[in-house]
């Protein structure tokens, strides 16, 4: 396999890129892309990202995404962005699946091109990093191809059209710079990634701990200086953006319109057990208990992990200097996945670069990377009945495939048969993918925790 990849590396990359290009125009997740459309519209009309409360992601993502929308805003005539089809308003409200704004294939293509560029940038960094860390070019190339031909990643970036690749790119480079002891620069990228999506904030206590113990032999003054550098780097952009955007409604939108836990929803998380028939009655009777677990599970889990690391690493023996940060990233993200109210499969992309690194340095086997990706991919297909068709709503509307009216009629029929969208979940597929996710989750977590305990992690080459 490795020799085949090495021999055909560029050819495979081009094939992977063409697959992305092929899907980029034809597909999109209508509900999400309608938000991107509104964002582009608001910016082009001068309302900014938050003026009309259409965009409710943190400002860092608004900044980077707005920039990537420039070709659409200035080069693509508005008439070609998409259509407003009021005929789907009722079924849209009914099923929670449709938005009356249906973007055109050219709109889909243009907003995804920067996503592909960010992905290539990430792969370049991953390649360089692994080549230097393992000293083997073929391992680095294998990892790149494993990323590029991962169906889940193709799905997230090229078909669904999600933006998670942007914070992941910043986060990954932050980690590399951290290893290179460029604490201030690393902190800046880390801070920016937090302004894009909140999830990296859970790594913060661990990284600060690492900065502190990494420099175990340094004098107290030097250790403090390193911590301050890193911390300053982290806070610069979040604070700056907070003051810059607090005049608009974004703070209110983000802080106050985010929903509290309102239900024990099943996805790639603890809510999965909702779908296990013998347990469903028990859960329904004890929902408040499960909501409580969901609410505080992550905090307790992270605190326990923090204690576990402190207890199991012999500080004096330089283990922190040798310890891959990727392990902590993966473990904390798995805790986040497990206790989130809703863990969508696109969130798995947050941990995939780090899992690939752990595979490359032989801490976990590659098949776990593939099984994890497969679980997310199957989950995508099981979320809603006919989801595979719904993803092609743009091509349906503009190119006639699948037949648009037929697609809408199928949903109307489905609704009259089953009533609500939750029933349109393909429960067997859903359950299977989530159980697979659990299995991989347990395997990876126990393996990583064992490694910490045994202190058998290989030394970082930097």
């Amino acid at each position: 396999m490795a020799s085949f990849i090495k021999k055909n590396f560029w050819f495979l990359l081009i094939i992977g890129f063409l697959i992305r290009i092929f899907f980029s125009g034809l597909s999109s997740w209508n509900k999400d892309v309608a938000v991107w459309y509104r964002l582009a519209n608001d910016i082009s009309e001068g309302f900014g990202a938050y003026g009309n409360l259409n965009f409710s992601y943190p400002p860092g993502l608004a900044i980077i995404f707005s920039l990537t929308l420039i070709p659409i805003i200035y080069l693509l005539p508005f008439a070609n962005w998409g259509v407003y089809d009021s005929s789907v308003t009722t079924i849209g409200g009914d099923t929670w699946l449709f938005d009356p704004i249906i973007t055109s294939p050219i709109f889909n293509f243009l907003f995804k091109i920067p996503i592909f560029a960010a992905e290539i940038f990430l792969l370049y960094l991953l390649y360089r990093y692994l080549k230097e860390r393992t000293g083997k070019d073929d391992i680095a190339k294998t990892v790149v191809i494993f990323w590029y031909f991962n169906p889940l990643i193709i799905f997230i970036n090229a078909i669904h059209g999600q933006l998670d690749i942007y914070p992941v790119l910043f986060l990954f480079l932050a980690m590399v710079l951290f290893y290179l002891r460029k604490d201030f620069f690393s902190g800046i990228l880390f801070g920016i990634s937090i302004t894009m999506k909140i999830f990296p904030v859970i790594f913060l206590p661990f990284i600060l701990l690492f900065v502190f113990y990494r420099d175990w032999h340094d004098k107290a003054k030097q250790k403090l200086l390193n911590l301050i550098q890193f911390f300053l780097g982290i806070i610069i952009f979040p604070i700056f953006l907070f003051f810059l955007f607090s005049k608009s409604e974004f703070v209110n939108t983000l802080v106050f319109t985010r929903f509290s836990t309102i239900g024990f929803e099943g996805s790639l998380n603890i809510g999965l057990i909702n779908y296990i028939p013998s347990l469903s009655n028990f859960i329904a009777k004890n929902e408040s208990l499960f909501l409580y677990i969901e609410k505080y599970g992550l905090i307790i889990g992270l605190a326990l992990l923090f204690l576990w690391i402190i207890m199991n690493i012999n500080k004096a023996s330089d283990k922190f200097r040798e310890f891959p940060l990727e392990i902590i990233f993966v473990l904390s993200l798995f805790l986040l996945y497990f206790f989130s109210q809703r863990t969508n499969p696109n969130y798995i992309i947050w941990c995939l670069p780090f899992i690939l690194v752990l595979c490359a340095i032989k801490i976990i086997p590659y098949y776990l990377y593939w099984l994890l990706s497969l679980s997310g991919f199957i989950f995508y297909l099981g979320i809603y009945s006919l989801a595979y068709k719904l993803l092609f709503i743009s091509s349906s509307k503009f190119l006639g495939w699948p037949n648009f009216q037929e697609l809408i009629n199928q949903y109307i029929k489905l609704r009259s048969l089953k009533g609500i969208i939750n029933d349109t979940i393909l429960e067997d597929v859903f359950l299977f993918s989530a159980l697979l996710f659990y299995l991989v989750f347990i395997f990876i977590v126990t393996r990583l925790l064992n490694l910490i305990k045994k202190k058998s992690v290989k030394k970082i080459s930097y």
Binding site: G51, N54, S66, P77, T90, G93, R128, K182, T257, F259
Partner: protein, 371 residues
């Protein structure tokens, strides 16, 4: 080795800063006027509005033109929004219920028509209900005992005098809670039941022989003329008012119908007149629908629907390609109206795009005399 990563770092930083500059300094809003001319009058016993539209933008637009007949002059009422974290909520989280306020503040209501929306807590709410008429929005799902309880009812007299209550939540008056009371507690005496609603509205509008078992089974499927005209979007009918009873009491159906059986149909948004004022009842709590509710409540207030004979409204929906011109006439048979309220809005725009409103009043008298 390090150099390449530092170049990557600066590249990402430059891209991010460029995005920041672009977003922050991108152009400010420009209003595109789609309206060349508007002429509203009474003519041959009809309330008539002639409109000349021109799409001078580069995009296709879909406008709704709505004419509502008025039989009294609309008052410019103060709007209050009840929010008190110390009191319980139902069918909404605290975040969502404050989120709805944010959507209202960011919407057309305040941005374009300069209405201020004043936040009031449970104590202040009681003084609002003892003052002059106003519009009060309560979306917490539970009434605080400062305004309504088994032995207190400040709402009904206020409605009689012309106040307008916009209620989003479980049955109106079903619960009345004390400060920091937990209504899910079985020992609670917060539950008043359907008697509470009867006490406020003088009639039972909601309690029927069937309710949907699940919120998603209550989604209204059939639009009404008013929901189409004003592009209203809230669809839950879990505790929606029963259509027949609303009609029988001169109320309006503003939302979506849900058929439970041959005789029982509930609507997701209803207006029930009470004395000089009335209550707008949404068919359930916020249920994550802050955006839709923010839009719907704004539309109801801006259109002056609560002062109008909304059942007789007329509307036109028109699509205009770039540079296309169109003349339209909307007319309503005059049944002694005093004037009309005309709104024209861009359906896809939600908040930012074109919105026009014109109130014309007292024109009727001349034409009626001529007849």
């Amino acid at each position: 080795m390090l150099k390449k990563y530092l170049i990557s770092f600066f590249l990402l930083l430059v891209v991010f800063c460029a995005g920041l500059i672009f977003l922050y300094f991108s152009k400010k809003p420009t209003e595109i006027n789609f309206l060349n001319e508007v002429n509203s009058r009474f003519e041959n016993s009809y309330l008539v509005t002639d409109v000349s539209l021109e799409n001078s933008s580069k995009r296709e637009i879909e406008l709704n033109l709505v004419l509502l007949p008025l039989d009294k002059k609309p008052d410019d009422l103060i709007i209050y929004y009840y929010f008190d974290e110390d009191y319980p909520t139902l069918q909404t989280s605290v975040d969502a219920y404050l989120g709805l306020y944010n959507f209202l503040v960011a919407g057309q209501l305040t941005k374009r028509f300069n209405h201020s929306i004043e936040l009031v807590n449970a104590d202040k709410l009681s003084s609002v209900f003892t003052k002059d008429k106003s519009i009060v929005i309560i979306a917490s799902g539970v009434l605080p005992n400062t305004v309504f309880s088994k032995d207190r009812n400040l709402i009904s007299p206020w409605l009689e005098k012309g106040g307008c209550l916009i209620w989003v939540g479980d049955g109106l008056g079903y619960y009345s809670a004390r400060k920091e009371e937990k209504i899910e507690d079985e020992k609670t005496d917060a539950k008043i039941g359907w008697e509470g609603q009867k006490e406020i509205l003088k009639k039972n509008f909601i309690d029927g022989d069937k309710f949907a078992e699940d919120i998603n089974d209550s989604i209204g499927e059939q639009e009404t003329i008013i929901s189409r005209a004003l592009d209203l979007r809230y669809q839950f009918t879990l505790v929606g008012a029963i259509n027949n009873i609303v009609f029988a009491n001169d109320g309006y159906l503003l939302g979506y119908n849900r058929y439970f059986n041959d005789t029982l149909v509930r609507n997701s948004i209803s207006f029930i007149p009470v004395g000089e004022g009335g209550v707008v009842i949404f068919g359930a709590g916020i249920m994550e629908k802050q955006r839709e509710l923010g839009w719907d409540i704004s539309q109801i207030i801006i259109s002056e629907l609560i002062f109008s004979e909304a059942n007789n409204l007329k509307y036109e929906s028109v699509r205009l390609s770039p540079q296309q011109k169109k003349r339209l006439r909307i007319e309503i048979k005059n049944k002694g109206y005093e004037g009309g309220s005309l709104i024209i809005f861009d359906k896809a725009g939600e908040v930012g795009n074109f919105y026009y409103k014109d109130i014309f009043y007292n024109l009727a008298k001349y034409d009626l005399k001529e007849e």
